[in-house]
Symmetry: C2
């Protein structure tokens, strides 16, 4: 068997183990009784070690080198490139640093859960400093292998090909219009009052509504399901996609749009090409592109009037026909903008400001221009400038609100807003190509959209770079003007 | 680290993998969407290969030998004995035979699903012959290693220590009274009519009832759960026990007692000693002892008047207070005896006859005194003699009804009736020790029973042989007279 075929076998084996791990993890979040947590965590950790050993074995390196001498098809060459990229990402760090990072991240994350409640920045800081110190070490090692800057070498793990040079351009442009746009929207919405839906909205009715909407959006229930977990996610494997949501009987609004969001992730996963499912080239292109699919579903379509019209009947069947559930009121509810402390609760307009702030801070942390102890000062200043919000002394709803940095996940935040921008650009192309698309959406006919996404995003997996993928799909690489136009169009017209 | 400690580490690693496999298998049966089956089966097969490789590695053999020279505590010695027994069972067959058996079993089992529907004995026979031929090869190899007879070497895998000499004694004694006892019971019950409950019994109400009964029976929901699957089972791992049931809206009777049955299995698993959970010595003692716990719950207690009284309120709350749900009627329903074709649907009286017949046939098949093509003749004769039922030409409800032989599972059937006998003997001891036990049961107070089972069965795992376990618990080794007394007492008085 030639070296490339051997690589396929190794990856299939690893994928099989990852399949079991993904289902056991989903079970831990969605099904498992509380008292089984220790045993499950140990079992999953054991599998992680196995998968790490197998996917970093030097045999893979030998086989990659041997494969490079073979005459491979173009697709095989791309696949080999992604195998190598993946292998290098995993093997470049010395295992002592991997271990130190994991320990420091667990320690910081574990203590954070209590410290956040107590607004205890002083207690949190030394742990965070250790995590950031180790992330800087990681970045410096990765940088020496990739030739990228320290921060870019982290960014590269989630958004291959993206550079902070581009991000700086994007965000400095966004900064020129976003804060004032937020103010304008808030001002405009002051005169547009809406009726807040009052529960109870029984869980089983919300669940039924969510299932209808997922079906509406083409979720394949033959290879996936939805359940409840405290933090919604899209898990499992492409052959068996598990999404989760949570229900609040006082508020159906969040859960419903959360389900639309996860359905976007799920459809990407469910439509990745099955014949490459165990290979890196068969994975989703990047975190930003993945987020673009959930935000395409949730923001571009989901909160738009046409989509709300298409599910209006379902909502009325579930909760009644009063004015609260009129299209006008639903549109207002789903497009309400309110600058606030917490990123995960933010609307799509202010969300970008939350991300921009985090990007600017984490980049300077990694590049050595900012010390962890000085984050709150910068945080306060930027929150005031971008969102007009005073966070002084409010650490728990400020710098201590996210889990990412506590666990050493640095370089990830930009993906959220890149996703929003990719989504806006993609939807703009769809609208140009199909001028009647909103009419079709409002009638529950999504065939134009689904076939466009399948053709241009889903089935391409990682066969193209993000730039190529966007260029093939929309005629140009990422251009944030479509995001701006989308926000202006939706919120100021 | 000494050799014995190394063995512990290896077994912990294997247990962790088995944990993930058990949950992924449970998920396949209870949660997984249909279309994901191929991917799941592949992933589980991959894990099976891994676990097989790890648990049969020659390193374990070396460590066992080295451990035998160490000065070990008594418990460690027992544990080492079980590690060796387990290892030998797994490694004695050449891998060519393991593979041939697996292929022949899959082929036979797969074709059987259709052939059974078509009553196609002729089509089934050649596949069965191949399976039996290979089982005979297996038995002969195992026999040469254990010094047991061919059949006993198979029996030994499920009931270590049990011999066909004892089984022959037991069943030839049972044969002297069971057929006439069945006739007497049928005759007696002719004059005891009962009202058949008429549905619908909505699934969610049955589910709620089942949960109440499980709680009543001490199932630990902090480390286990119940769900639905088409074939009820008790799975997962002791740290996270997953039982399943199925609901028929026309019949709550079966599902309710099925839940009691699986709860018996589950409580054994949940009360095995956690500090030995990854070691062979920490496992349930045998298939028969496992079945004794489910039958203790279902047959000794569950179908008894005292237990039905204890859950009577729950049943009435679920379905009403009519005469159908009176204690008298429930007792009649749950103790109705009816000789019939199908083992899995049989009552506890006729069940023993079904097992006796299968034992007698499979023993002669393996020992070479009966050819597969002659099974139907013997089957017909024994069904007529034990149960008064004519099975001539009715293969699908006769010899072709069970999955066991199609997959080469031979030597397992006796465990069912051994379980019934162990259970009767255990309950007899409990009644002698606590003369008021039925009064307590009827009041929903099971503390005497649960502490007796915990002390005498559950926490002992595999630290004693079955004979020792029964002798310590009941004062004597297996004695089928208690089973006979139980049947006479329940059905003829």
């Amino acid at each position: 068997m030639n070296a490339y075929k051997q690589l396929l076998e190794i990856h299939e084996r690893i994928h099989n183990f990852q399949h079991l791990g993904a289902i056991a993890y989903w079970d831990q979040e969605a099904m498992m009784p509380q008292g089984s947590n220790d045993a499950r965590s140990k079992a999953l950790a054991q599998l992680d070690v196995l998968v790490h050993e197998e996917s970093t074995s030097s045999k893979i390196n030998d086989l990659i080198e041997e494969s490079q001498t073979l005459s491979l098809s173009k697709q095989e060459q791309t696949s080999l490139f992604e195998i190598k990229r993946n292998y290098d990402l995993k093997t470049v760090l010395p295992s002592s640093l991997v271990k130190a990072k994991s320990l420091a991240g667990s320690k910081c994350g574990h203590a954070w859960r209590e410290q956040r409640k107590n607004n205890d920045w002083k207690g949190f800081l030394p742990n965070l400093e250790e995590v950031i110190k180790l992330s800087k070490e990681e970045a410096s090692i990765r940088a020496s292998h990739t030739g990228l800057s320290a921060y870019d070498s982290l960014l590269n793990m989630y958004e291959p090909g993206m550079k902070s040079e581009s991000l700086d351009d994007i965000f400095s442009e966004v900064k020129t219009w976003l804060p004032s746009l937020i103010q304008d929207v808030v001002e405009k919405q002051k005169s547009e009052s809406f009726i807040n839906p009052i529960g109870p909205f029984p869980t089983h009715i919300q669940k039924e509504l969510g299932l209808k909407v997922m079906k509406h959006l083409g979720f394949d229930f033959n290879t996936g399901r939805i359940d409840i977990s405290s933090h919604p996610f899209c898990g499992g494997v492409p052959e068996d996609v598990r999404i989760t949501t949570r229900y609040d009987e006082n508020d159906f609004v969040q859960s419903l749009m959360g389900t639309v969001h996860e359905t976007g992730h799920a459809r990407y996963e469910q439509n990745l090409p099955l014949e490459y499912v165990s290979l890196p080239v068969g994975n989703a292109r990047s975190m930003g592109i993945h987020e673009s699919q959930s935000l395409f579903f949730e923001m571009q379509m989901g909160r738009g009037r046409a989509f709300l019209e298409s599910i209006h009947k379902y909502i009325q069947d579930a909760f009644g026909e009063g004015e609260t559930f009129s299209i006008e009121n639903l549109c207002k509810i789903y497009n309400h903008v309110k600058p606030d402390f917490i990123r995960v609760d933010a609307d799509e307009v202010t969300y970008a400001a939350h991300v921009m702030l985090r990007y600017e801070i984490e980049k300077e942390l990694i590049n050595g221009n900012l010390a962890a102890r000085d984050i709150p000062e910068v945080w306060d200043e930027k929150m005031l400038s971008y969102l007009g919000i005073n966070t002084q002394g409010n650490y728990k709803n400020g710098v201590m609100q996210d889990v990412h940095w506590t666990e050493g996940l640095i370089g990830y935040f930009p993906s959220y807003t890149l996703g929003a921008m990719y989504a806006a650009q993609q939807f703009n192309t769809v609208k140009n190509q199909y001028p009647n698309v909103n009419e079709n959406i409002s009638q529950g006919n999504f065939s134009q959209i689904f076939s466009w996404l399948d053709e241009n995003i889903w089935k391409n997996a990682s066969f193209y770079s993000t730039d190529e993928l966007m260029k093939n799909a929309t005629g140009e690489v990422l251009n944030p003007k479509y995001f701006k136009a989308h926000l202006e169009n939706r919120y100021l017209k």
